[in-house]
């Protein structure tokens, strides 16, 4: 049996994996951006127990 990675099915799987990968990367970037907005906007308060240390 020969291995043919260019089968149409492989293209479809690659497209699916690429899509999931890009979505995950975008999600990470979004969470990072949200974190930056939240901590720089001034409404972020450290828990009292953390401030003592």
């Amino acid at each position: 049996m020969s291995l043919k990675p260019t089968h149409e099915l492989h293209n479809r799987r690659f497209g699916r994996n690429l899509g999931v990968g890009l979505i995950l990367a975008a999600f990470v970037a979004l969470v990072f951006g949200l974190t930056m907005v939240k901590v720089t906007r001034g409404d972020f308060v450290m828990p009292p127990s953390e401030e003592l240390n």
Partner: protein, 313 residues
Amino acid sequence: MSDVSFNTDLREDEAGFGDFFALLKPRVMSLVVFTAFVGLVAAPVPVHPLIGFSAILFIAIGGGASGALNMWWDADIDRIMRRTRNRPIPAGKVTEQDALAIGLALSGLSVMMLALATNLVAAAMLAFTIFFYVVIYSMWLKRSTPQNIVIGGAAGAFPPVIGWLAATGSMAVEPWLMFALVFMWTPPHFWALCLFMRSDYDDAGVPMLTVTHGRRATRVHILVYTILLAVLAVGAAFTGIGGPVYLTVSVVLNALFLLGAWRISRRDETASEVDNFLVERRFFRLSLLYLFLHFGAILIEAVLKPYGLGGWT
């Protein structure tokens, strides 16, 4: 013997990325995105653009998740109806288990992320919306009462309320006016679709009004609900979400919508068959424009307000 392993579990109809995306009902999602956006912008609280974007995104994902769960639950009737036959599950692209897993995972993710990005009240409302669409509408009402679309339509009406809550964190009358607009718009919109999809719901055994009370009664129902909708839609022009732009748009659209509903109520089945339900199809297309332009007008009023132009002040 070979050390090379090769996955022979090849399915020619294996799902691509687009098939999973189709599970989220992108067209319904576009309505969710737009109405939630209008709810968010109309709220009298400035929102950071990234937080606003995240709120809309997670509301859309929540809406998509409920669409996937709806497709999982309704796979049996989707196989029968012409309109839904090509959806990913009946087409054999995505398994029911995958749809359930994606629906549940995205539901949890969207609610959790909306809570983190905005507030718990908006997240709770999103969770309730998903519950309402999947459990109250899909699992309970859809197959048990001809009022399915009337009560179930509430699920599609919640996004502007969630958008408003994401911005303010508290309730007000204005988002519920937007809710009422979508809620009252849904029955005539869907019943017009039922009229020209003819035997679809009958074949699937879904007790749509056309099936239980007949097509004549459905035509009358469309007219009655359109009259109620017109009163509500034009009346909303004199509330906090309205203004001169909204009033103008609303009067024109409601006049056209009432005319369409009147024509539908006057037609019989023979006349409709002859022109392949032309009037009903036109009314359905107009209904899409109707909702888009009403929310567009609310958006314009909200955008103009900071410049002293929107609303009646």
